[in-house]
């Protein structure tokens, strides 16, 4: 039983690290896409750097409320579900 508690504690710590890394990655990918979107638009050529920064900030604000960001919580849910399913199949089937 103590083993299960140990798994839960260390698993939570490890998954938190993974969650943070995936969050940073996802945010970085979104920011890069926004930058490229702005830079590749011919209509925006010669516009001010401030406008570009504002556009990217608005995009990032939208990202913060997006489903994609919320789905990163699957990083916790999927491994926990796998452990639960494995435990059930191995011991109760």
């Amino acid at each position: 039983m103590i083993g299960l508690i140990r798994l839960a504690v260390f698993g939570f710590v490890a998954l938190t690290v993974v969650y943070l890394l995936v969050s940073i990655y996802s945010r970085s990918v979104r920011r890069e896409r926004l930058e490229k979107e702005w830079d590749s638009d011919p209509a925006r050529e010669g516009s001010l750097l401030d406008e570009r920064a504002a556009f990217i900030e608005a995009g990032m604000a939208a990202y913060r409320h997006s489903l994609r960001r919320k789905l990163i919580v699957l990083v916790y849910i999927i491994p926990m579900a796998i452990v639960a399913i494995t435990t059930y199949l191995v011991n109760y089937q």
Partner: protein, 218 residues
């Protein structure tokens, strides 16, 4: 430094790494044998330094703190007459990740499925691990069920799912690393190069070398 040396070093490293990962997966992933159970028993087994890696750690096995403990075994025979001996131990909660704690029940099920050569009852034993007599190690049985016959075809769904998931994780790690490099390290390196005009050739070469170890793109 000769380019040839680096090519050899790189390929040696890759092959060793591949063999290690393949062996590790082959040991850990579940496999199925169709056998006839001939005997189930437990015996005092001494676990030494050379083979303790292939046994459960003491606190998840049947006794604590000793190197000699009672371990359950299942003797079986294949249809072609070859034999296989499985151990039947709890796995504990970390590695290998089977989270098995029903060894007693499994032993009872295995005993219940015992049969003799005249009246064979074929059984699918799901197990992981290797049988290496020289190290006295045994695969650990995880589940038993009756087979439809000695030739039953089994699709290894668990292995397929695990390998696909692992592939996904590896691809994600590479993409995350590439993103980190492109967005964080390269701009920082560019700043360094601007600041230190004289050093940048060496720095660029050094970073290029490091980068070459981790990715093959460009």
């Amino acid at each position: 430094m000769g380019g040839k040396f680096w090519t050899y070093a790189k390929w040696t490293l890759r092959i060793v790494l591949f063999l290690f990962v393949a062996g590790f997966l082959h040991y850990t992933l579940p496999q199925h044998d169709i056998v006839r159970i001939t005997n189930t028993y437990n015996r005092l087994t001494t676990v030494g330094t050379e083979n303790s890696w292939a046994y459960s750690s003491p606190d998840s096995g049947t006794a604590e703190g000793t190197t000699t403990r009672d371990i359950r075994f299942v003797d079986t025979a294949f249809a072609n007459g070859k034999v296989m001996v499985y151990r039947n131990e709890d796995t504990g909660w970390v590695w290998p990740p089977y989270f098995k704690y029903d060894s007693s029940n499994l032993q009872a099920e295995a005993t219940n499925l015992k049969s003799d050569a005249a009246n064979p009852k074929w059984v699918v034993v799901t197990h992981y691990g290797w049988r290496l007599p020289i190290l006295s190690i045994y695969p650990n049985a995880v589940a038993v069920r009756e087979a439809s016959g000695p030739d039953e075809q089994i699709i290894p769904w668990v292995n397929i799912v695990v390998l696909v998931l692992l592939l996904f994780v590896v691809v994600m790690i590479r993409r995350m690393w590439a993103q980190f490099w492109e967005r964080t390290v390269e701009p920082a390196a560019a700043n360094v190069e601007e600041a230190w005009d004289g050093v940048e050739n060496r720095a660029g070469g050094f970073w290029g070398q490091i980068k070459g170890w981790f990715s093959r793109k460009k």
